[in-house]
């Protein structure tokens, strides 16, 4: 069973690296926020699995719970921030108005 959990951890790690591509080269800021949220959910799962592998689940579950909470708040904060900072997004109405003013 330990080997199976190691396999699972490795597969999820590969998926995280694939998501990292979207987080680094994503065309817009919004794509990056989505990718970071997805990576956070996967990390929550990986932490629990690592706990199973090292036979210290009672410790890693707490870390994982805290990580899930932090990830949720980070996503909310980022989306709220970029909602008010419209100038950061390219091609938006705010940006076009600015160019028209010039």
């Amino acid at each position: 069973m330990e080997n199976f959990f190691i396999f699972t951890i490795i597969v999820i790690g590969i998926l995280v690296i694939l998501c990292l591509y979207r987080a680094i080269f994503g065309p817009t800021v919004m794509d990056r926020i989505v990718a970071v949220g997805v990576i956070g959910t996967k990390t929550t799962v990986i932490l629990v699995l690592i706990g199973i592998y090292y036979k210290r689940v009672e410790m890693f579950v707490d870390i994982s719970l805290a990580y899930a909470l932090l990830n949720f708040i980070a996503t909310l904060a980022a989306s709220k921030f970029f909602r008010t900072r419209k100038s950061i997004l390219p091609g938006t109405k705010f940006m076009k108005d600015r160019e028209a003013e010039k």
């Binding site: 069973m1 199976f4 699972t8 597969v11 999820i12 998926l15 694939l18 998501c19 591509y21 979207r22 817009t28 919004m30 794509d31 926020i33 989505v34 990718a35 949220g37 997805v38 959910t41 996967k42 929550t44 799962v45 629990v48 699995l49 199973i52 689940v57 009672e58 579950v61 707490d62 994982s64 719970l65 899930a68 909470l69 949720f72 996503t75 909310l76 989306s79 709220k80 970029f82 909602r83 419209k86 997004l89 938006t92 109405k93 705010f94």
Partner: protein, 113 residues
Amino acid sequence: MIVEYIIDAFVIILVLLGLFFLFTATVGLLRFPDFYCKLQATGKGDTLGAILILLGVILYNLHDFSLNNFLVCLKILFIIIFIFHANPVATHAITKAGLDADVKPLTKEDIRK
């Protein structure tokens, strides 16, 4: 002994199903054209994938039953409930941010081009 093998088989099935749904979510994140469609894939696939894998972990953890193990299972159950509530809320927050920032969603004609 046989009961343990059956439980192990269920754990493996649950975790593999969860891995499949996480995989579809990731491929959707990489393939879909605009970020509203990407959210369609990640909001659903990530939720169910993570929930299935954590359910498998709970089942595996119930092998040797004790109070400590039971508390750990309750904590993992709490993580499941939290993901179940938080993932849709985060998805909605990102969509609303995109809508407020005037990111135009792609339509059928845009994709055909």
